[in-house]
């Protein structure tokens, strides 16, 4: 691999050991969520939050996962006609951000890959058809370039099927 700045990083569940106050991604709603809301949501089992850190304390990035449901009529026709006509279980990548000081190091790649891997593992316990994300303005292309597809009724909302990601792992001969 090329020098992409992943050396020394790891991803772990958000805990009191992490310095949430120092996190700045440039979007105050995401900063505030991590600093004020995330721990409460975890305690109430509304979401799970994972952080990217290089020292076990600094938060260099984070993402959250929770359960959601897809209205099949909101999917592109080629998917909708093949799915049952009730809410389709899915995994919501609700929040995802990288600290501004880490900008330019492709850490979004690490976080997204981790989120997809975690979602796929979860889908083996509780069925989930796809990972869903509401892309922030300007981030849509990031997801589209990584195989996400837009919902037919909401172009900023994107999904990636578990099947697709599992195929990637299979193609790379990754032991699951």
């Amino acid at each position: 691999m090329t020098g992409i700045g992943s050396t020394g990083f790891h991803i772990e569940p958000l805990s009191p050991a992490h310095d949430r106050e120092g996190f700045r991604c440039g979007e105050s709603a995401l900063d505030t969520y991590l600093q004020r809301q995330a721990r409460q949501d975890i305690a109430r089992n509304l979401t799970r939050v994972y952080v990217l850190t290089n020292d076990g304390k600094s938060v260099n990035g984070f993402y959250s996962l929770s359960a959601t449901a897809i209205d099949p009529t909101s999917l592109p026709t080629q998917f909708a006609r093949k799915l049952p006509h009730f809410a389709i279980p899915a995994t919501l990548l609700g929040r995802m951000a990288v600290d501004m000081r880490m900008h330019g190091r492709n850490l979004g790649n690490l976080i997204l890959a981790s989120a997809l891997r975690m979602s796929l593992e979860g889908s083996r316990v509780i069925g989930s058809w796809a990972v869903v994300v509401d892309a922030k303005e300007g981030a849509r292309d990031f997801y589209l370039r990584r195989d996400f597809q837009p919902f037919s009724d909401h172009p900023e909302r994107l999904f990636l099927t578990m099947t697709h990601y599992a195929r990637l792992l299979s193609g790379l001969s990754i032991a699951e």
Partner: protein
């Protein structure tokens, strides 16, 4: 040793949840097999998604 009479258990239900929709979704087994097969996303993974995962694996292996 004293024995205690076991109270008869109430009959457990066989259906524990409501269906996800109030409209029943009924398929024959053959239909169901075809539908499930068709759920698959048949695209090949793109290069940037592969790169993202390879970067992730590099991080995991170095941890």
């Amino acid at each position: 040793m004293a024995t205690h009479p076991v109270a008869p258990q109430t009959q457990e239900p066989t259906c524990f949840t409501n269906p996800p929709s109030d409209k029943p979704w009924v398929l024959t087994p053959a239909d169901a097999e075809a539908v499930i097969a068709s759920w698959e996303d048949t695209r090949e993974p793109g290069e940037e998604l592969k790169a993202a995962f390879q970067q992730y694996m590099e991080m995991v292996q170095q941890a």
